[in-house]
């Protein structure tokens, strides 16, 4: 049988969004791959130039709808640096809690979609069940389950509700018990799951750095890079946590990526609990930003999928002169042909699922 191209997308159960992975197969073995993106390009960087600073938060929420708060926060941080204003301390702590709640929700969405990628629909239902806990907390905090429009330039929109701390602790306690006892039964302890993920889609640390892979995908190669630790923003330097890095050799495969993300669920919950303890109980959570600003602001944060970078230029008007977004998934996409080559056709799904693709932020 001659080699032929198979379109994995744009309408295909494998794609978590609207994009196309063209795969060249020889029988079942992949000889070449070509990601085709741009189906969801909405011209974000251009639209943001004609909207006022605060109104752009609505747009950055929709960069990746499973990880809205982290993206809006990165934008707000860049604008704040440009304006030269500082968030009050309580506002920073609330932001940390919101970021980590969003990170857990985002990772659970990834885990939920990774299950059906491997043919395990039970994983989908279990993870979405626990994701609701965190969406409820985010709703309690911001008033919306998705596209929260919660971070503001200079702080957050509103203070935490009254009994948020107690509800947060109760949900996290319930969730950590599931992560410890229930999820490993269908993931880590399952022989078939290990067969499908170990040694598949391998990339070396040097290659990953050269391709610009960041976040959990890079930490799975054994590189200890976490911007929350290396270049702390908000109040992350006061929090005691461990970046999840894969140390055990055989690095950079699907299982390492899975394990790094899975352990981050635990780690994020720890950060939330610490933040609830350490944050000041009262105080302002927001400062009023100036309406017009001039200068350059640059912020990089650890998004759920890697390093999210925002570069904002103001020319003295009430809206940005230019905005540049650096999406981690966009850079990871460039490395996917290398991840896929030599594997079997069924592994396309298992590898791209473990990379955690979000098309909204990739196509901008």
């Amino acid at each position: 049988m001659p080699e032929f191209w198979i379109n994995m997308g744009p309408q295909h159960p494998m794609t978590h969004g609207l994009w196309n992975m063209k795969v060249k197969v020889d029988g079942e073995t992949i000889t070449d791959a070509k990601p085709e993106i741009g189906y969801l390009h909405r011209g974000y960087e251009k639209i943001m130039e004609v909207r006022e600073f605060q109104k752009n938060v609505v747009l950055t929420d929709r960069l990746c709808y499973v990880s809205s708060i982290t993206w809006s926060h990165a934008y707000c941080l860049a604008v704040e640096k440009m304006m030269g204003i500082e968030t009050p301390e309580r506002g920073q702590w609330i932001r940390v809690i919101a970021l980590e709640l969003q990170r857990v929700a985002s990772h659970l969405m990834w885990l939920a979609s990774y299950g059906p990628d491997l043919g395990l629909l039970t994983g989908l239902l279990w993870c979405l069940r626990e994701r609701e806990l965190f969406l409820d907390l985010i709703q309690l905090m911001s008033g919306a389950r998705m596209n929260q429009n919660y971070p503001r330039v200079g702080g957050v929109r509103n203070d935490l509700p009254e009994n948020f701390e107690a509800m947060c602790k109760r949900s996290i306690e319930h969730f950590l018990e599931k992560v410890k006892n229930e999820y490993p039964q269908i993931f880590q302890e399952s022989k078939v799951f290990r067969m499908r993920t170990e040694g598949v889609g391998t990339i070396s640390a040097a290659d990953a750095i050269n391709w610009g892979v960041t976040g959990p995908n890079l930490r799975a190669c054994g590189v200890n890079v976490d911007l929350r630790r290396l270049d702390p923003y908000e109040t992350y330097e006061e929090i005691d946590f461990e970046p999840q890095v894969w140390h055990d050799g055989g690095a950079g495969d699907s299982y390492a990526r899975f394990e790094c993300r899975f352990n981050e669920l635990n780690e994020s919950c720890k950060i939330i609990l610490q933040a609830l303890e350490k944050m000041p109980k009262t105080g302002p959570y927001r400062v009023k930003p100036p309406r017009r600003a001039e200068g350059e602001g640059y912020a990089k944060t650890e998004d759920s999928r890697g390093e999210a970078l925002f570069f904002v230029i103001g020319d003295g008007d009430d809206r940005p002169y230019r905005v540049k977004i650096r999406s981690p998934v966009f850079c990871t996409m460039a490395a996917t042909p290398q991840l896929l080559r030599g594997n079997k056709l069924a592994d396309v799904v298992s590898i791209l699922g473990s990379v955690d693709v979000c098309v909204g932020e990739m196509d901008k």
Partner: protein, 409 residues
């Protein structure tokens, strides 16, 4: 030890058919006064060959309805309810109370709070209403023939599959061989379907089916050969009768039935069960229609009731596989009767053989459902490795063990 509810399906049907046909015959005789040639027609209707032919048709219809209407719908319902509970949700809840007209749509009755047994019927009605689309460049004849080939070859298994010592269409001396042969016909239909639809997904799925199902048919047949070495027969009824006794060890009868699985056949049982999971395309081995990478595999291009047929046949295969495992290894329909009632002089067992057999079939089906919803899908090269490097050597070992026990006695 056990007794069937239907002592002999053919005899029962024949009595009923003969009674009905004799009434028809009498009616024809009564009306033959003005038209004398009708008397010959009456003689013809009541004659023995006609009664036999009609009886055969009735028997086949009864068994097909029993399999497809009662058992197929039940096993689909069992699966959908069971995996829903595994996933922490209610699952299907459409029932008679969901019908949108009086007297079902009562004001105070929630429409979606039933047991969900009618959901599959509703799905079937929906599929029948849908358009049957044939892809433009598909090989039309083959595309349309393959669902028929797949469904009919699976139904052929039930032609000789006994549900008790009396409830079957036909009882062949080589019944087990016939069932395995009919069971292994479906890969041909799947390959035709995958090739004919002129789609890359279906093509890959069809060839995956060919590679996988053929390589798993070999250990399946080898395991049955190991069984035949010790039973000495391929007649399913006789195989079950051999198991309907207690195990005798050192002169004393143990309170354990002498099922084939308790003994040297345990290895063959494991090999046969794993092969059967592959043959019925359930999740650890469902790569021919891996919905993650191949959309819906070889069934991608089917729509409407053709999709319904190729989708429902997997449950038919699960029923057939569970029944085969129960007959060959788990004692078939053996079980205690407890008591026998006498209804109009006919003895009726309280717990007849049919109940014991159906119980085994559904427990095995539930086991397969449980297994397939808790593990991911295995890759094609791993599946072939399991088949050729594990199952075939184990099945050959099972033959050796069976032969050794046969020689020792």
């Amino acid at each position: 030890m056990s007794a069937p509810l239907v002592p002999n399906l053919f005899a029962v049907c024949k009595v009923l058919v003969a009674a009905i046909l004799s009434i028809v015959q009498q009616l024809i005789y009564a009306s033959s006064g003005p038209i004398p040639p009708l008397r010959g027609l009456g003689d013809f209707v009541g004659s023995d060959p006609i009664v036999s032919i009609v009886t055969w048709l009735i028997v086949v219809t009864v068994v097909v309805l029993w399999v497809t209407v009662i058992n197929l719908f039940t096993v689909m319902w069992v699966e959908r309810k069971l995996y829903s509970r595994l996933q922490d949700r209610y699952g299907i809840m459409i029932s008679i109370w969901s019908l949108p007209f009086w007297p079902f749509n009562r004001v105070h009755r929630p429409t979606h709070k039933g047991l969900g047994y009618l959901q599959n019927l509703a799905d079937g009605v929906k599929l029948i209403q849908k358009e049957n689309i044939t892809p433009r460049n598909a090989d039309s004849a083959m595309f349309h023939i393959s669902p028929v080939l797949i469904a009919s070859s699976t139904l052929m298994v039930f032609a000789v599959l006994p549900w008790s010592s009396g409830f079957y269409v036909a009882n062949l001396d080589l019944g087990v061989l016939f069932m395995l042969a009919a069971f292994s016909l479906a890969p041909l239909g799947i390959m035709i379907a995958g090739y004919a639809a002129n789609n890359k997904y279906t093509l890959v799925g069809g060839f995956r089916a060919g590679a996988m199902l053929l390589s798993y048919s070999i250990p399946m047949v080898l395991a049955v050969i190991a069984l035949v070495v010790s039973t000495g027969t391929l007649d399913p009824v006789k195989i079950v009768q051999q198991q309907d006794r207690p195990i005798v060890l050192g002169g004393t009868a143990l309170p354990i039935p002498a099922w084939n699985v308790f003994g040297p056949q345990v290895l063959g049982f494991l090999v046969f069960t794993v092969s059967m999971i592959a043959e019925m395309e359930r999740v650890p081995f469902d790569i021919p229609e891996a919905e993650a990478e191949l959309v819906e595999g070889w069934t991608t291009e089917y729509s409407g009731m053709r999709f319904g047929i190729v989708f429902a046949f997997k449950w038919l295969r699960m029923l057939a596989a569970s029944a085969l495992i129960a007959i060959l290894y788990l004692g078939g329909w053996g079980g205690p009767v407890f008591a026998t009632l006498s209804v109009g002089g006919i003895p009726v067992p309280i717990v007849p053989e049919e109940v014991w057999f159906v119980l085994r079939v559904y427990l095995l089906s539930a086991f397969f459902v449980w297994l397939s919803w808790s593990v991911p899908r295995v890759r094609i090269d791993q599946i072939l490795n399991i088949g050729w490097k594990r199952l075939i050597p184990y099945s050959l070992l099972a033959i050796l063990v069976a032969a050794a026990f046969r020689v020792i006695g």
